[in-house]
Symmetry: C2
Subunit: 327 residues, 2 copies
DNA sequence: ATGAAAGCGCTAACAA
DNA sequence: TTGTTAGCGCTTTCAT
């Protein structure tokens, strides 16, 4: 920068002012500086700028997801894209950080506190999450996608998993099914637990715990496993609510393998409205999850906090039922 | 840090030495410093450290992919995970950066040159890519996943797309098909162009340009479109090589819609061995792409460069044919 | 083994 | 409008 100043015949201070919006810089100085920058091939050093400004203009997006799921979950990619777009418009650089091992988690917490990042979006946190703890204790501007119970009063953007689960289960019941089961995944996550709660709500007194099979992940494989178990326990089942589209796809496979038709013998509904839903045969009735908007809203929340606005910490988005042919 | 030094009764220099490996620090000093760090709640500032060290211990992974594909391509996620693992082992923080709009590209190039990142992995670059140009002119340690023609002598890790395409086409021909076509996607990318070249190689003199339909993206939708066009132009087609599993899945859908059976009427093969392949019905014969290893090797390459080793810039990985039931 | 001091490249407060 | 200067928080000679 000192070179630029010399070439332009001005002081470093003036160059700095030019670089930061150009107020209080005369036209003469401006053109001289522009020429000098060109000649010298000047590239500002962001580390230095970050140091003095205490800002990096970068925001992290943490994906804390087991291996297999990240690969398989189209929602995450949409969230990412939505967040990136919002950050981009505000001229922030989004950096997606993956927490895949405990070593990752440890390094990440250090990284986050290092001042190289101004704020953070957390996707798919689980209750009791080490990263969550680190972040809340760091008081870094943050926004969660989803709403784990233990984030205190941190900002979050979520959908009404429970209400939506209730809605779609009722809709399924309305097709005349009397033995409706559920493949309930990821009960260690708010979304998973809430979807189950909504299912129970909808069934009311006719709820039968026998008809719920719990599996660990929102995955195709677990859906298949869960459905098989359900089929074995309650062969008279005629409707299934799967915790996610991937789970539903797995369930449909198990159903097919067992010789049941969908929606003839068994009606199936999912959750997410991800690319899985249309890939199913028949296309899946499901709950539309506005993944890109979730990402976008989370980004906007962090941006707002960065601007000093800490109100409106809870955003809830609509997630309507999308009825197709699987039930 | 000055606080820590005071509490421990030593100088900042000693604290710094402790922080950086602890050589030339007495046991007394060490314990005093450790206690002081604890008491003060000291967190090192990475921006300051980056400034003086000219190193951030962070590496970028750039995904330059149109919106839709990123969401749909399971390979990218695997590459990411593989790279992250290798970086993690070396105590580097991986930051995934998305280039989704031209605005992104512009911001990214600035970001990369800012010194906040020590090196970079580039996934799915296209020929003439603005980011590629920026990186090569920046001489930032870099490694490409795939091998665009215009990266000069930059490091890359790739598979032999052409050879593998040749192999699987021959294998398909060996099932007795005589009118083999191809849905060729992404010809603007090295992988796409090479797969087509391999197809042409395999067919030799019996190659008929009429039987190739070119589509822009490695996507399910384009696969469906491409297959429909092929079917219309050459109704006697009895074998198809699709540029990717997603394309193959789309093609199978089009085939089904046209009343053709797979593999009875038409044999279909894909490329990638992604989660699409097993989701197809029947399961897809395809080329296994070692996505996680590609990511891992790219990471190792950048790491090597960071350590001053600039040899071995070209890594090639095996990608065997996996034969299933779709042909 | 340790302390003092000189920067890393930049911004911002102050004076002019 | 501009130049001067004092840091931002850390590492790293160079003495000691």
């Amino acid at each position: 920068m000192i070179d630029v100043a010399e070439h332009a015949g001005v002081s470093r201070g003036t160059v700095s002012r030019y670089l930061n919006g150009g107020r209080y810089v005369s036209d003469d100085a401006r053109t001289a500086i522009e020429a000098a920058i060109e000649r010298v091939g000047f590239i500002p050093n962001r580390a230095a700028r970050s140091l003095v400004m205490q800002r990096s203009q970068a925001i992290g997006l943490i994906v804390h997801e087991p291996h297999s799921l990240f690969v398989q979950d189209p929602n995450i990619a949409s969230i990412l894209l939505g967040a990136n777009e919002a950050m981009s418009e505000a001229d922030y650089q989004m950096a997606c950080l993956i927490a895949d091992s405990s070593r990752d988690v440890e390094r990440l917490t250090k990284f986050l506190s290092g001042g190289l990042i101004d704020g953070v979006i957390i996707v798919s946190a689980r209750e009791g999450d080490a990263i969550t703890k680190a972040i809340t204790s760091l008081d870094l501007p943050a926004a969660f996608v989803g709403h784990p119970r233990d984030i205190g009063d941190a900002a979050f953007v979520a959908i009404d998993n429970r209400g939506a689960a209730r809605d779609i289960t009722r809709r399924l019941a309305a097709t005349g099914r009397s033995r409706i089961g559920m493949v309930a995944a990821a009960l260690d996550r708010d979304s998973g637990a809430d979807r189950l709660a909504g299912f129970v709500d909808a069934l009311g007194t006719s709820f039968d715990p026998q008809l719920v099979e719990s599996v660990p992940l929102y995955s195709h494989a677990d859906g298949e496993r869960g459905m098989r178990a359900l089929l074995e326990r309650c062969p008279d089942i005629d409707g299934v609510f799967a915790s996610s589209d991937a789970v539903a796809a797995g369930a449909m496979e198990a159903l097919r393998a067992a010789g049941r038709t969908v929606p003839g013998d068994v009606g199936v509904v999912g959750f997410d409205d991800s690319s899985w839903a249309l890939r199913c045969d028949p296309p899946l009735s499901t709950v539309h999850q506005p993944a890109a908007e979730l990402g976008r809203e989370a980004a906007l929340s962090v941006l707002r906090q960065l601007a000093g606005d800490f109100s409106a910490q809870a955003v809830r988005l609509e997630c309507p039922v999308v009825w197709r042919d699987s039930a």
